[in-house]
Symmetry: C2
């Protein structure tokens, strides 16, 4: 059984590869909810939805998030009011948020509604939010002060300098039901190729999760989201630098060495394998850039063989 710590697009692509190699009954994804946000009163869980839509084969292939063939009627109509349209919710995607919000109001947990939504899409892998309790990733922006994650990531298109990241509520959050069990019993734990600071760190900030991963360090494999010093998507490279880390596989290795015995890096970083090992991680070099499902499956196979 494989348990993966997962953020958004990179993790979703990796997991779709995993499902070409493993039975969905053997896959548990522990998904970041630190960038969940309430918009218009609706509970939006961007990473859960990206993983869900990807595994359902319904994701927009151009963006890696949102639904393919989406329409934007509600957002266009919202412009009349000068409403909050910087975070664009497609018409079909809105249904997911409407349903999730209604079910949470009905009193069920985020894990439960996530299971319902996954079932509706025929996704058989187990998707777990990291926690059913609210955790809010907040970013210190130089010259502005602290803003919510989506304010940083979407509204400012992460084109500002960050000086810190904090996970509001994390210390009071409990891992969602099934999370610690999955981490304890998985034959392999994977830290997906997601932003270490914005996607993986909030999961690890939920008390008990970092400890559970650390306890399985030997069976834990991380996939570097940094390739040749750059993030394939998003601000991971710049953010690592801004927060005093090195934007390289070596910087990633220094972050993950206490948690994972192995780091999988791209062939572009083969020359740094020795430095990764010096940072305390075994280094596996392979193709990690997932343009399509074949590459994702091949990466998954390499990770499982690690």
């Amino acid at each position: 059984m494989l348990a993966a710590l997962a953020g958004g697009v990179g993790a979703a692509r990796f997991l779709s590869g995993v499902l070409d190699v493993l039975s969905p009954a053997d896959v548990v994804a522990v998904v970041n909810t630190g960038d969940d946000v309430v918009l218009h009163g609706l509970h939006v869980s961007p990473d859960l939805d990206t993983v869900l839509y990807t595994l359902a084969g319904a994701v927009n292939p151009d963006t890696g998030w949102g639904l393919a063939g989406e329409s934007w009627t509600a957002m266009e109509a919202l412009e009349r009011y000068g409403g909050l349209t910087w975070f664009r919710l497609g018409d079909r995607d809105l249904a997911t948020h409407l349903y999730r919000t209604q079910r949470l109001r009905d009193g069920i947990s985020l894990s439960q509604v996530t299971a319902e939504v996954a079932r509706a899409w025929g996704v058989e892998a187990c998707l777990l939010p990291m926690s059913d309790d609210p955790v809010e990733t907040r970013v210190d922006v130089v010259g502005e002060g602290e803003v919510g994650f989506q304010e940083y990531f979407v509204r400012r298109r992460h084109a500002v300098v960050a000086s810190g990241v904090r996970f509001e509520g994390a210390e009071r959050a409990r891992p969602a039901p099934g999370v610690l069990e999955a981490l304890a019993t998985a034959s392999t734990i994977v830290i997906s190729p997601s932003n270490p600071i914005l996607s993986i760190a909030p999961i690890l900030a939920v008390p008990g999760i970092r400890e559970a991963v650390t306890a399985r360090r030997r069976d834990t494999v991380a996939v570097s989201p940094i390739v040749a010093g750059a993030a394939l998507k998003g601000p991971a490279d710049r953010l690592l630098t801004e927060l005093g880390h090195e934007a390289s596989v070596v910087g990633v290795a220094r972050l993950y060495a206490p948690l994972a015995a192995t780091l999988v890096v791209d062939e572009a970083d083969a020359a740094l394998a020795h430095d990764v090992e010096a940072a305390g991680m075994r280094c596996i070099v392979t193709g990690t850039v997932m343009h399509g499902r074949g590459e994702a499956a091949s990466l998954a196979q390499t990770v499982l063989s690690a």
Copy 2:
């Protein structure tokens, strides 16, 4: 200046006629919010929106509510989840609920967001919710017990027998800012052709409003929503009977006599004019069925001349 107590479709059509006769600056609508409902976490104000969309010239002419040329992508997508789709929210209409919900969360009042939304549509008449405080119309359904208004009206399509109606929260509600002032200063108060029990009674249940109308009884004109013993739309006729009233202009006169000096009835009810007067109201007979804007304007003119 004209102040109208208003429910949904009938009131909206009447008010559109009023605006062919009066300047919008001289028209205040005090709109029922007893059938407001939170769906999927969104604050939906059906009567306010029906009046708004009608006065904006954007209403669906076939139904009398909702937007013309609407699409239903979000609702269709919600069916995948088995979500709450008995109350159908169109994609463009959703934007109104998204905006209203966000603004209420921002801390502004329902009156304020109503003014913003009206301005965005270029509606210059003053639309006021009856109250900024929550009032919830609840219906006792025989054999079921009490249900929310929309559960009765939309979900059961009012095809059940009611034994009572109650306005939860009304006793603690205050009239929205401007309501009592409009009723005190209007040259004419109109009780629109709306359901007396489900649309007008909740407005009158807000402490201060019934008294304000009663104090202006001589200048208050009601338009009967019952024509030839039947409601033009909705369950007003059956509901009047179920709750022990007479489903006729005479029954309406008995309800409104303490509040309004004059009742406008349709020509189909000319023979009952004497009985209306016996019930304590002056009776004006005219065409009250509004198929189009011309008829609405003509009815408005008659009401204003009363």
